[in-house]
């Protein structure tokens, strides 16, 4: 069984500047695909298992971007495929991205980097026959890097925004607006290339994704499940420590990441 890889990815190439052409899903709801919330979904209208639901997504300005992974989350697609635009037509990735007899709500695909400005998702059948096809999130991004060794510790906490109102009888109403994750990774044995990776994250000048499971490891603990991916800022100082001041061995470093 694969191990968690704690991979880092760029921002989602699908965003508010993207344009969408869809067989039946309403265009007003496309933001559900990139709002970083699993629950709101983009759902087909009047579809069935003999009618493909095709979503063609063009990146902002039809400008080609590098991508090397696609994550489709909170979906009910049993069979379908994903292709990319090669400048003249939609073609398969290598290897081809295809779902067949799928029963997973979260599907992750990685592939050698391609540069493209458009993606085409074809959804054919659903878990339950003839149900409406829905997807909560789609992420298309490029791998920034994966540390050579997993962190020595991985702590995830969830900071919530909430209000408690006291009622006339002294009881309470709890209002929960949402939560954001704080992640602390401590690497005790980071290689030079790992330190370079963390420095590149610090100097990226943009938010990025951390995917603890890496899309391969299907953990059950929160933070390590297939669905647990976080768009974060790197918020603490970049301060690698040489162990015992001996240059030849690896370094320790702590990353504090906060969800945006």
């Amino acid at each position: 069984m694969p191990s968690p890889t704690f991979s880092f990815f760029t921002k989602n190439r699908i965003n508010s500047g993207s344009t969408f052409v869809m067989t039946s899903a309403p265009s007003i709801s496309t933001s559900a695909l990139f709002d970083r919330k699993r629950t709101p979904k983009l759902t087909s209208v009047g579809s069935d298992d003999v009618t493909d639901e095709v979503w063609q997504i063009t990146f902002t300005g039809d400008v080609a971007k590098d991508i090397s992974a696609i994550l489709i989350d909170n979906h009910n697609i049993k069979s379908g495929n994903v292709k990319y635009w090669n400048g003249s037509s939609y073609v398969d990735f290598s290897p081809a991205i295809s779902l067949s007899g799928n029963s997973d709500e979260t599907s992750f695909f990685s592939f050698p980097q391609v540069s493209t400005s458009r993606l085409q998702f074809t959804f054919s059948t659903t878990f339950v026959v003839d149900a409406q096809k829905y997807v909560g999130e789609i992420m298309a991004f490029d791998l920034i890097g994966t540390p050579s060794r997993p962190p020595a510790s991985f702590v995830i906490s969830q900071k919530e925004r909430s209000v408690i109102h006291e009622t006339a009888n002294g009881g309470n109403v709890y209002v929960f607006f949402g939560k954001k994750s704080k992640i602390k990774l401590t690497f005790s044995d980071a290689s030079y290339s790992d330190i370079d990776l963390f420095l590149s994250l610090k100097e990226l000048g943009d938010v990025f994704f951390i995917y603890p499971s890496g899309g391969e490891y299907e953990g059950v603990d929160i933070g390590l499940r297939m669905q647990d991916i976080y768009q974060v800022n790197y918020v603490n100082d970049f301060s690698p420590n040489l162990k015992s001041n001996i240059l030849e061995i690896n370094q320790s470093l702590a990353l504090e990441l906060q969800e945006t």
Binding site: S31, F34, T167, A168, N169, V173, Y174, V175, T260
Partner: protein, 418 residues
Amino acid sequence: MSAEAQIDSNIHRPFRRLWIKRKLAAGDYESEWQRVDTIDGEDQVIEWGIVTYEIDSDPSTDQSTFDISSVTIKIRNDTGLWNNERSSTSLFFPDDVYLTRKFTRIKIEAGYLDSDGEEQGGCTMFEGLIESVRTSEERVAVINTMSYLYVLKNYPISDRSYSATPADISTLISGIFGLSKVSDFIYLDTNTPALDGEIADPSELEGDYWQVIQRLAFLSNSVPVLVGETIGSEGNGQSFKFIPRTPVGTSKRVFKGSGTSDPDIYTIDSYDDEGAKRVVLRWNDYTSSPPIFAQSSNDKLREKYLNKTSEVDVSILSSSDRQSLLDALLAYWENPRESLTFSCKMMLNNINVMDLINISIPGVYPDDVARWGYGVWGDVVGSAARAGLAIDSASEFLVTGVSSDLDSWKTTIKCEKV
């Protein structure tokens, strides 16, 4: 679970959304609403603000006024999204495509998520226009909005070029809302004045459209109300109602306070148990010759409130309609009306101005004090008045103000006894 079930629950999971429609260079609006509370997975809104709908909003005129508060929204601007149209990072760039930030349509949607994460009761809490955007070094922007009442305040009634021909109040109202410059923003939903009197000479009407509408509301013993309903699937604009000052239909909800088993009232912010403040026992039209008036026949009330008199000018009404108006005003305002303001669970748009509600506040005694008169075994404590503020659940109240705090997720309701 329904929206009502979510409101009743003691765990609330709200959702809130912010949308804009930018004004294009040609002067029209873009066709689709753009969602801006989250952009590319990053939450943008820092503070959502408070939306208030209220009748009798102007204490100087007291009756037949209505207002919607402006809403101030604080939003992230660390990437310059809310800079002006000349900034390449702006949502309003380039300036040959979008006119400016001012007059951008803006709306706030809110609702509940149930335990399955499904949306319940989603509705437009506010829709209006951006008045200004203030950016700062702190990398936040403050968006000041104004309601669609601005549209009515923007045009002088003189541009209607009324003639001296008498016209019914309802005809004048429908004429204003028949103009595309108004109906593009506000839809006339109901036009049923309590007294559809006749304006003898409409050319004498003065002020802007909104001032005239409020004047006509007074002259017809009605209220002008703009509500946060959406029209059609696009949700363009808000609905306007020109209606009698009487609740329509049945009670929307029984609000439960202190002494009930599961209250939805948080606090009573103010309570006027007498309701004397707005009593008027004589209405004088000092402009008619001879002067006409309507006076209460209730000697006790006249004694109590020193025959409180209000001088009004209704001379613009046809003479045959003036006495009916004074009589109707007297009928409503001669009675003292108990009123209160309370905060409660977030009601979304389930409770609107002019709705009918019930309030149940049995009240409770502190457990550790003696009660005067209940010293004998067998006394029935529960049948007696039980607290300083006690309202029987059968009491019906007219909602005169609804204020929704979208940050703390609670509603404040003003109401008066029917």
